[in-house]
Amino acid sequence: MTLTAGIDVGAGAVKVAIVETGYCGERLRGVCFERIRRRTVESVVDQAFETVLNEVGVRRDQLDYIATTGEGDTIPWRTGHFYGMTTHARGALFLEPKARGAVDVGALHARAMRFDERGRVLEYRMTSQCASGSGQFVENIARYLGVALDEVGTLSRKAEKPEKVSGICAVLAETDVINMVSRGISTPNILRGIHDSIAMRLASLARGIKVSGTVLVTGGLSLDAGLVAALADRLRDGAAVVDVRTHELSVHAGAIGAALFGAFRHEKLAAKQPSQNSTTFSEPANAGGG
């Protein structure tokens, strides 16, 4: 049995997952999500890591592999690092075994990837210079509209006549939104308009890599049902049928994927140098587990 941790350091939040792999397959032992909110990244990582270790009752030294992802390659005590799209794909596959594609929408960037049944990334795209398809965008708009982030999705789904958002810029769109409010457009219609415009960008990312079949939305915005619905609509009007899903643990996909790859790598390394790593494989390592 192998016990590994994945730490996903994002622009907006730190996510940690603990995974156990063994004869009975892969088991997610615990997760933790901590928004950074103007704190130093190190302190947030430490806190999140401690929290989840306590929760699942595991000590640091019992971990076989600590895998980082996202901006986590600055964490000195990691065992190894995997890049964001590698881990999100793997995490998505874990959460939704049917998925062959994932769209990850984080605070600043959005990514789309297509992968095979083992989680091997076949193709991917991500946004770069411009934040117009990102979580931060939604956060700003929500703030303008006075809507809490976790209500955004519900409200957006109530839209009857979504308002078209013309501009591309996430900053100028704030003014657009003010205009809409002053024209008496309802909050749901505005939100859905915003969601549609983000979804359009995401869909073009996803289409660019020809996703099809089941696609899991991961990252922070997976919690936003309105965006997920908008994306599903957008991807539906193409030729290929795309089944867009989300999972309550979607936001942890990166961390989960990192932990799983940590295990994968650990086993590969162990196979290469069995003597050195043998202790890690001994039964007592399991003591803390449940």
Partner: protein, 442 residues
């Protein structure tokens, strides 16, 4: 008194300026732009009118000699109390709206805890208010949203930590309620507010109350007759005025800058979401202009994101950046990424002030490109818009202009943020002069 009004409805702030028939500035008003443009324009205009009345009042007081050497002190107390009254009025309405929100039944089990958290916060804000508005305490934002928002968030943080309802939920109340608060007018009006302020000040027993009150009433009664009003700015298309009372902000900024500094040849205006480079001739007529394209990178909002990230006020950014000795080179990126960029640089070991200095320079570099596009920097140059209030931005501008154009006089007025409104008000004045003969014939 006949007055001419200019309103500049910016993407971030709305400004109003009142002129008399000779073109002298009588008053200025500013508020943050909000979803209801009519209200924003109205509030700015009210503020400007209040400003006019205060000017009148001050003159009256001086003439009366009633307070002698105590005038300045009394004046300080009265203006502070007046602001405090305004603040408290807003706070009342914030309280009401928050309660309404709680009453809507979305909050389930949290309704009660949220309600008591709210009561706690409002009480706190009330208690802290007099101190915030005591005379001599400057350097705070001009806007209720910012002042109350900061206090609210801080208090919410403490309450949440002490086992109260979750932080997000408490702050959510504020976010929801601030919009209606901003979108309804003050209700109370100038006179009652001044009167309440007066009572506050005189409760201590300063001077001859009755005589003072009489003077006050006279000043408040002064009739202000708006002859003509011109609107401009980002939101001008939505202003509730007829088309002939609307001017492009380019023209207004050009003219405004010319009026403030008659030798102006080049104008740079950096607002919240747009940057304009304007060339004017000797009469203040625009001969060329360039604006940023559909990307808001490098505008004032960029600094807003940084201030948010650092949890400090906009006015504190510049002074902090000025402490830098080793500027970090930054290629200005997306406004939304500003916070992340800042955090990244911190993580890479750069000092706060050095990063800030780099960010300010990056913004100014973008402005330099626009300036070059519009025909370069000519002597003299006037820098306007909200960002001109930021000393690090102006320092970066001076440096870049010197490096690229040599010795050029750069004008920055303390009230540069009103430039567009001054231009608009002057157009109002000129239009009415030009229109009069036509009306007589007709």
């Amino acid at each position: 008194m006949n007055v001419f009004v200019g309103i500049d409805l910016g993407s971030t702030t709305t400004k109003a300026v009142v002129l008399d028939a000779d073109g002298a500035i009588l008053g200025r008003g500013i508020t943050n732009s909000r979803s209801n443009y009519d209200i924003a324009a109205q509030v700015a205009k009210d503020e400007a009118f209040t400003n006019v009345r205060f000017t009148v009042l001050r003159n009256t007081l001086e003439e009366s000699g009633l307070l002698g050497g105590g005038l300045d002190e009394f004046w300080g107390l009265l203006t502070a109390a007046f602001e405090l009254e305004g603040y408290l009025g807003h706070l009342d309405r914030l309280d009401v709206h928050c309660r309404d929100e709680l009453g809507r039944g979305h909050h389930g089990d949290l309704t009660l805890p949220l309600s008591s958290a709210l009561a706690n916060i409002v009480k706190r804000l009330r208690d802290e208010a007099p101190d915030l508005f005591s005379p001599g305490r400057r350097a705070r934002s001009d806007f209720f949203r910012d002042i109350a928002g900061a206090g609210f968030v801080n208090a919410a943080g403490e309450i949440a930590k002490a086992g109260g309802p979750p932080f997000d939920r408490i702050v959510g109340l504020f976010d929801k309620s601030i919009i209606p608060v901003e979108n309804e007018s003050d209700g109370r009006g100038f006179a009652p507010r001044l009167s309440a302020a007066f009572s506050r000040v005189t409760s201590g027993g300063t001077g001859d109350k009755a005589a003072l009150r009489q003077l006050l009433n006279r000043a408040m009664g002064a009739e202000l007759q708006t002859i003509r009003l011109v609107g401009t700015g980002y939101g001008r298309a939505r202003l509730p005025f007829p088309k002939d009372q609307i001017r492009s902000e380019i023209l207004c900024h050009g003219l405004g800058a010319h009026l403030m500094f008659p030798n102006t040849a080049t104008v740079l205006d950096i607002g919240g979401q747009d940057t304009k480079a304007i060339q004017v001739d000797r009469a203040g007529v625009v001969t060329n202009f360039q604006m940023n394209d559909r990307c808001a990178a490098g505008c004032g909002r960029y600094l807003g994101y940084i201030a948010d990230e650092m949890n400090i006020g906009l006015h504190e950014l510049g002074p902090l950046a000025m402490q830098s000795h080793r500027r970090v080179k930054i290629n200005s990126t997306c406004t939304v990424f500003a916070g992340a960029e800042f955090r990244d640089r911190l993580a890479a070991g750069d000092a706060r002030e050095d990063i800030l200095a780099g960010l300010h320079r990056a913004i100014m570099l973008r402005a330099m490109a626009l300036l070059a596009r519009s025909g370069g920097v000519r002597n003299e140059m006037t820098f306007t818009g909200g960002v001109a209030k930021n000393p690090a931005a102006t320092a970066a501008l001076r440096e870049l202009v010197r490096e690229n154009y040599g010795d050029v006089t750069i004008n920055i007025a303390p009230d540069s943020i009103f430039t567009g409104a001054i231009g608009a008000a002057t157009f109002a004045l000129r239009d009415s002069v030009a229109a009069r003969p036509v009306q007589e014939v007709a």
